[in-house]
Subunit: 450 residues, 4 copies
């Protein structure tokens, strides 16, 4: 029921049991192919396996029963595959491999596809945010620090701060990908024991066959790349959670400076439009922040294989990928449809009695007075302004006789000179992140969808 909030249908399909089962079949088939090619197994047997597994559809219910018995689905899968292949060739299925080789490599294949989707969402979101930041360079809003009105700023700069981390996330993804998209092939205990001196060759050929990288040694017990991926997923949802939190706060009845294009209805209050997507972004961020611990706990993977740590990964990582996918998709929808109310933002400033200009006033005064005096005067004037409902600048102008053009001070403060420069700088990082990725990554992406 809550799937639409907490998951993304495309990514959910990529991580479903059926997809995992198919990915495992793909790995077993590729293994037979390369072992046949290298003469590790009989070439005819390899051909038979390749042929019979080309269209093989595994029985997922049977795999579930097998998982309950063995703690991994692979023994049941291998039994299915051997029945499907039949004859002498059946014995060459899964030659020299261990369950973890199949489960982990299949996971990597699934993640490769999921990351292509996530990266696509991320690129689209970067573009949408860049457009939005550019469109609101001149929309003046009040900045709020520690939940208090601070100084005038632009909505464009606020959007730029939502955007700024995203190109970094894209860079991080490019960096972690080659550490993550590696074949897993180590045999019983990670030393390729069953394959004599040809083990490394098979590992390399299998990587090549599947379009994956080849690790220095099997990573059965080195789970850092998965934990790093989990951290990346939490970084992404964390940045989007900040966006969601800001939108929730901007959409408050008393603020109303921006709102979701289409809020959710209430079952009893006809006037309400709840910030459904924004709330979901916050919830998904906190969800991934929580789950991340589990993936780091799972790095304590004992000895040459540890079922306790491995099961913890299975229970954790898919939910994190789903959260990131849902968050990216919600954020994209939100950013493309959100409504900015520049008039409301202007009204906020107008109602603020000039208090957000206090810093500017104090700097203006400081050109004529010692700064401590300037701050003291402004502090008192701010109190007076708030109590009397008079504009701060008027109060100050009345109190202090210095040749200051107060209109100029107001105008300058309300159009912060650096806002545009900073937006430009952020947009440049976004544009360079939009450039086509490096050939290696791109081809990995391409292959994965082949």
């Amino acid at each position: 029921m809550y799937t639409a909030l907490l998951n993304d249908p495309e990514v959910a399909a990529l991580l479903a049991d059926e997809a995992q089962a198919r990915a495992m079949v793909r790995v077993e088939r590729a293994l037979a192919a390369v072992e046949g090619r290298l003469g590790v197994i009989d070439a005819a047997a390899a051909s038979a396996i390749e042929k019979h597994l080309a269209e093989f559809e595994p029985d997922v219910a049977d795999l579930a029963r097998g998982t309950a018995a063995a703690g991994v689905p692979v023994p049941a899968l291998v039994a299915q595959l051997r029945r499907a292949v039949g004859g002498d060739a059946a014995g060459f299925v899964h030659w020299g491999a261990t369950s973890q080789d199949i489960v982990d490599t299949a996971l990597v294949l699934q993640l490769r596809e999921a990351l292509v989707l996530l990266e696509g969402h991320l690129a689209a979101l970067i573009e949408a945010l860049a457009r939005l930041a550019d469109a609101h360079r001149a929309t003046i809003v009040v900045a709020r620090t520690r939940f208090q009105q601070a100084v005038p700023t632009t909505f464009g700069l606020k959007v730029a701060s939502w955007l700024a981390p995203l190109p970094r996330h894209r860079a991080r993804l490019a960096e972690l990908r080659p550490r993550l998209l590696l074949v897993q092939f180590g045999g019983a205990a990670g030393n390729l024991s069953a394959l004599g001196d040809r083990g490394v060759a098979v590992m390399e050929a299998l990587a090549e066959e599947l379009g994956l990288g080849c690790p220095a040694m099997p990573w059965h017990t080195e789970r850092d790349a998965l934990a790093e991926l989990a951290s990346w997923l939490a970084l992404v949802t964390g940045s989007l959670g900040k966006l969601g939190l800001d939108m929730v706060l901007l959409a408050q009845s008393e603020v109303g400076e921006a709102r979701e294009g289409q809020g959710g209805g209430s079952s009893t209050m006809p006037q309400k439009a709840n910030p459904v997507l924004s709330e979901a972004l916050v919830a998904l961020a906190r969800r991934n922040a929580t789950l991340l611990s589990g993936m780091h706990e799972a790095m304590l993977h004992a000895q040459e294989r540890d079922g306790t740590a491995w099961q913890l990964e299975w229970a954790t990582l898919p939910d994190m990928v789903a959260s990131a996918a849902a968050a990216l998709s919600h954020a994209d929808h939100l950013v493309r449809t959100l409504v900015v109310d520049a008039a409301a933002a202007r009204a906020t400033l107008d109602a603020a009695l000039g208090l957000p200009l206090a810093e500017a006033v104090s700097f203006a005064l400081a050109e004529h007075l010692p700064r401590a005096d300037a701050q003291q005067i402004v502090k008192e004037a701010a109190r007076e302004a708030a109590e009397s409902g008079t504009d701060l600048l008027e109060v100050v102008a009345r109190k202090v006789k210095v040749p200051i053009d107060w209109h100029r001070v107001r105008a300058d403060a309300e159009h912060p000179a650096c806002s545009d420069l900073l937006i430009d700088r952020v947009l440049r990082t976004a544009t360079s992140a939009m450039a086509p990725s490096s050939p290696a990554v791109a081809s990995a992406g391409t292959r994965s969808s082949a």
Copy 2:
């Protein structure tokens, strides 16, 4: 695929979307009934609602779509119910309620049933462990502290230490239940605004109707009882995780003092029997320890309702209940089928060169020598024993001429006098926990299965 490891089918059914939808219908129907009875809504309308909703089966796919739009399933549900009721009566469905009243009360109804199941599993497990502890009062094993052989103990006492926390968990459950099994009914913002001065009466009557307790005030934003439940679930899985961890360590090839009745097979190593259930217990414990953070984060529930915190609960609590149910079920199966190898345990002690008796030897010597000297002698003798492969007691007897009956020392140390007393004490706490619960709790349990 991993459901059999990470969930329990009965509890999964209780927490499924269909069950939640039915529970929400039950709440809406009960609400109309009591409002009709109290004259808050038209009696005929109330009867019509009761009649039409008696067998109503909600359309879950439609609720999912509605949830995506509104962030909660209730607006879509109310629309379904009004269509089902039809006529003027339709307008009296959901009278004075808000979405959260329905979702939270339905959750409480589901949890009430789930807790009956969990409590049943817990009681069965307590019984099984009590039997096992009793059966192994005389099975001598070596205790291991900080992963080193320490002193002789009994397998029965080890089982008693697995058992001891469980009656406490049962007591905790009895304590938290009345805080948790409360109706939620507060209307739009928790002050029963739409019902004039009859709001509290409706809240009380609805609680009565559903067999739930009635809170001092609506608990829309007070999520402590849910976080407390989550903590309880993590306490349960934590204790079972310790059991699983101990079994994993006892089942190691080099130890082999206990093993699962039916281990999982390997896809490449014919000799192996993997401790599948024990591993799952550890993984489920770490999973709940991780998720627990999320439920406590969700206590920061802003103002009169906070979608960010509320969604985080939905994404977290069901997985925690599932983990606890799976863990209880795995532990029960494990405890009933595990195999203790008393001969292997004896052999461990025999192979230990008397080193686990070092403490006993040092206390025996201390009756004749200053204790510091006794400890020093034993320390040196232990080194000598280990290096020469001689039994510690022989080494000491050779080194020190004191009138000690070393056979007696060995026999006493290998049959720790307090083990039985301690087992008895633990079994007594288990038995008293097995007594029928208090009438209040029992009737809540009974009602929930009605």
Copy 3:
């Protein structure tokens, strides 16, 4: 530097190294006393130990060095104590105990005192909140659900929702205390191996001597009571975090309905008063929610003692106690000094164009029209009111000709009839929680400060 925000000086002193060292000495001394009394050790030796340890001040720097070497401070402590006692009696120090007996029992003694402090803070806070709720029964504010103005409510009821969980926390504390405040005494591996058949008698006498409860068996590896305490600490900070979050939101410049009595200054903006204490409450709540995972991870305590799990507790629990102490102390200060701006709250409602009365209007109309029609009319009228800046009730009155006394509707909606009843109910739970605790608990408290 941040201690004032993240800790409480009194509790910090109770948990400091010096306090722990003194508590360990107290345990060793009590052990010798009861062993002397029971004839387990020589009575003269026991007297000598009691005498020499009465005023003994342990060398904490030496304990730190010893901890680095042994992983626990006890071997170094025992060496210090034996040097202090001297002679033959020295050998009877720590007789039959293991390091964990001393560390755990000392921890329990420290926690007993810390809980007295926390409970005192909690009681004071309950009283302060009860007074505040009572004082603001008639202060009308708008409730906010999902960050949108919802319906009118009272500030008193809002305070009641901050208060309501606290008596439950007090009840939980009373429930967990007898599970937590237990002596730890099990010897080398938890079976009292060194004490023959007198082990249980020593355990019971030591409990009595220290005013602690006696467990069914040593709880070296059963860490549920500590994890339960950690959960309680997180429940407390969670409830206070909600209070802090609400205050942060109420103190926003655009809301301004309540603020801290003394906000923090800004280094550059003279007009600002930052909600320092409220922010700290939120941060401390999230801190404890995070740390709680660690305490539940530590329940996976392997075999008869597990240094990995045990060290994790040491690194985690003190910070959680500190966070709870700081949060209680901040909340108390905040509640006693916060300023409610009833005029601002009134102005919020006045500026809201009657939209928070939409539910009331729709219920009023529903007495004359089908409810669906009523809701539809109000929904359209709400849009029109917002766009035209007209009051909702005027718009509706113009649109629909029904004999409704709109002034009455407004007055009723703005004075929710149940608010007072609900506040009364909550205050009753607070008052009963304020009654003197049960004799057992009270005497434990008294003893601990003896």
Copy 4:
């Protein structure tokens, strides 16, 4: 008392209050210098500030009091600095900056130094592990998967699996550094409001002055780089926790294949040598896995500054750095002093009745029989071997008449052909990681210690 286990003295000093206070002074001084140079403030005032702050020692106790009042130490610090500078120049201290500019930049300066230390530890550890792996290429041990003996492998390969992630951690550090080591300078709300159009120039000059990078825009609310650092710290402790866990398991009395060079003593069992450092590695890993959630929660940093999220960082990140430092230092000590008992490892294999060769036997048979038959025969033979205490190869040789050289099978299985190749591959990644880092990074490191 536990500092030696949970922290590292050098890093502790870098993160102490005194170091933070000095770093803040350094930032304020550098700011005045560049503002003077750019003509933003009076050049004479800038010189005066530079001169007076050159040796200024802040009063940390006063900062602590100021933090309690303002929620940040900066207002109190600025007051101290202005008193120190005196005269008109005093007013130019902190010109255009906000508290967060100072606190965050100071943190970055401290982290820069801490990372140099951590990187040094990491490099030393890589070197030590590389030597250890190389030294044990021929030390045959049994691999253990899912806590069961699996197949023969080498201790060298086991060490290689501890080593393999570390060069990746070094690469990750090099990648994250330029995202982390950035100046923070944004003024009141991140748009450099007080500095007119010269704000970006000051930001760039300040970065240059401090040897830091310059961000696209101030990162007040973009905390991804800090969360990424936290993830990196948890990755490092996670990998070392796996090493510690393996050592704990290898040092078990029943295994005894490796042990700490200097174990910790027990207070009651003279024979024991507890794996203190290994346990600490596990505890520190779980600690950082737990704390990591908090840093990701803190990414939800509201609006233009959020004290709740910011305080959560302060409470969390220093402990994570400390844990990583302690873990690296413990691991280094452990690896340099651990003792491998090759004879014990050989004895384990000899006692295993050939069962770890089951896979090899099944592959040998599969050259003569269908694989399914081969596996079935070995499975039965394994059971027979275990029950009768006969070597598996003998049992199989007796059962099946095929021309297999069983001595050859044994010899090959016990000297896995790929082990050396895999070790070589890992050592190559270690060596390339040992090469001097990129000039940028190196110079950042150098500057930081200037």
